[in-house]
């Protein structure tokens, strides 16, 4: 029997505000424990939370960017449960009336586009951080993160494969960073993902029993955990068993999911409207004003790169994957207007270098202008593509201009026909056996001769001229 997975994702993104959602405490990461707290976020009796306006603005930006309907009226709810990272005994969240609903984004996997629905986006406060002592029977609680603003983005169960889940997640990640509402740092937990997944026989209408996966804190983990879970559920069903509804934790060291709690122990949150916080009303003027502050979004940028610069879709996808990379690319083609060559160099040499050094594009040792200058040198025939790669390495190490490196190291390409002819004659005279072989029909030997000439000229001979001269001389 063939199965199909049905996947929905819940994503939490931490908003990049200066202060917490309901009090003026700092949101910055990594401070000593319990130094970013006040009576409000510590949940002292009698305090009054007041909503940070920027949280609402950032959330509306996200709602617009994901084609959601921004609700005119929404409200806050208390989600009640006991856990030591939650000082009040409830989390302030939104339940019945979230701020935005009914959105979508388009994703692309293997060249085909698909629309993934977004059920809702709501705002809520984060909980504190627990550290478990490995040797002693206690846990330590740090409330610095308590009250840091989050948005939760809930997708429709429209996702049908781990690849689609990965594409959806990357797309949302790219959007939050484009519109500047979250730094999207997965390691620091500012972008987190839970997945609901069930499987059913292909073509069936009815949904299977789902499990909820937690602790998926990197793009890779999300796809791996989903693959694992699909196979686990498949095996249970094939063996005649039944999948139980439960929460499972991804273990990245062992590459497995393990049961965390079953539905019988599932929480009963007893949501009710928070009487401390007033209803939120967002009018059209406010939405329109925020709409004007949004930059060009990744999907639109990608399409523009395809139509305006004639880039292949895969190149456009990478060039638009972050705002900084897109800016770098566009700055580069302003100075060197051959987009495909620019994207080739960015995808090959530049991203290779940055990945190897664990850097992002804004920390690139080679500026967009210097990369453009290097490409101009190749284009004008001053250096060969091969030499350009060594110049590139030198630029990365020294930060110097390509022209300076080429000049100082004497890397200018030899285009002087008579000088190349001289080398070619010498090579042919030294390799009479190969010359004979070539003339008898072993045409592949041309590569050998080119290689010898390049070796002799240290890669500086213009390859086109070398080829022409070789063919002429070998035909004699």
């Amino acid at each position: 029997m063939e199965f199909e997975p049905v996947i929905g994702l819940e994503i939490h993104a931490q908003l990049k505000t200066n202060t917490k959602i309901f009090c003026g405490c700092s949101t910055s990461f990594g401070a000593p424990p319990n130094t970013h707290t006040c009576p409000v976020c510590l949940g002292m009796p009698g305090v009054l939370p007041v909503l940070n306006k920027k949280v609402v603005e950032y959330t509306i930006r996200m709602a617009i960017a994901t084609n959601c309907k921004v609700e005119r009226r929404s409200r806050w709810a208390r989600k009640n449960y006991f856990y030591p990272d939650l000082p009040k005994g409830y989390q302030i969240s939104q339940y019945e009336l979230p701020v935005a609903q009914f959105g979508y984004i388009d994703i692309e996997t293997d060249g085909s586009r698909k629309r993934i629905g977004i059920t809702r986006i709501h705002m809520e406060e984060d909980a504190g951080k627990l550290t478990h002592d490995p040797d002693r029977p206690f846990s330590m609680v740090d409330f610095n993160r308590t009250g840091v603003p989050l948005i939760e983005i809930v997708s429709e169960p429209d996702i049908r494969s781990p690849e689609e889940a990965g594409a959806y997640l990357r797309q949302l990640h790219s959007i939050v960073r484009y519109i500047g509402i979250s730094d999207g740092n997965m390691e620091e937990g500012s972008f987190r993902c839970d997945a609901n997944i069930s499987i059913r026989p292909k073509g069936a209408e009815r949904l299977g029993t789902r499990s909820e996966l937690k602790n998926l804190n990197s793009f890779k983990h999300v796809e791996k955990a989903l693959y694992y879970e699909i196979n686990r559920q498949k095996e249970i069903i094939i063996d005649g068993g039944r999948v139980v509804q439960e929460t499972r934790l991804w273990n990245p060291d062992k590459n497995i999911t393990t049961s965390m709690r079953s539905k019988e122990e599932a929480h009963d949150y007893r949501y009710f409207p928070d009487p401390d916080l007033l209803p939120l009303v967002v009018d059209n003027e406010w939405i329109d004003a925020l709409k004007k502050t949004l930059p060009e979004l990744p999907d639109r940028k990608k399409n523009r790169f395809i139509s305006e610069f004639n880039l292949p879709s895969s190149d456009a996808e990478i060039m638009s994957s972050s705002r900084e990379l897109a800016d770098y690319f566009e700055e580069c083609i302003k100075e060197f207007p051959k987009p495909k060559q620019v994207s080739n160099w960015i995808m090959g040499e530049l991203l290779g270098l940055l990945n190897a050094e664990g850097k992002t594009i804004d920390r690139s040792p080679i500026s967009s202008s210097n990369l453009a200058r290097l490409l101009k040198l190749i284009d004008k025939g001053i250096i060969s593509g091969k030499i350009a790669k060594t110049v590139f390495e030198d630029m990365a190490n020294t930060g110097r201009h390509p022209e300076e490196i080429v000049e100082k190291k004497g890397l200018v390409q030899v285009t002087d026909v008579s000088a190349i002819e001289e080398v070619v004659s010498q090579i042919l005279a030294d390799n009479l056996k190969e010359v004979e072989g070539y003339r008898k029909g072993k045409k592949k030997l041309i590569g050998f001769f080119v290689g010898q000439v390049m070796k002799e000229t240290k890669g500086k001979a213009n390859p086109k001229i070398v080829n022409e001269i070789l063919k002429d001389k070998l035909a004699e």
């Binding site: 202060t19 707290t37 609402v56 029977p137 206690f138 330590m140 409207p273």
Partner: protein, 95 residues
């Protein structure tokens, strides 16, 4: 509205209250009485009345995203039964 014994046990469990048998029955009766009293509201004709969640009609109280003073850490931890290295200490919880 009557409340069942099981519901009392469930609610007590959610509130982390330990109840012995005697109290379960006592509270079932008392809470049942309270709920019955609240049920009188259900007899009012509310046709055409919009559901409300707040007793006052204000909306949109905001603060600007401006940093304020933090509580001194010793003060934040002053009521902690146990503390260590600036952390609150609680019995071990996992999962």
């Amino acid at each position: 509205m009557k409340i069942t014994r099981d519901e009392i046990v469930h609610v007590a469990d959610l509130a982390r209250l330990e109840l012995d048998e005697k109290f379960i029955n006592k509270f079932a009766g008392q809470i049942g009485d309270i709920l019955e009293y609240v049920d009188t509201l259900g007899r009012i004709d509310t046709k055409g009345v919009v559901p409300t969640s707040h007793a006052i009609s204000l909306i949109n109280a905001f603060r600007e995203d401006v940093l304020e003073k933090h509580l001194d850490r010793d003060l934040a931890l002053a009521n902690a039964p146990e503390k260590e290295d600036g952390n609150f200490i609680v019995p071990k919880v996992i999962g």
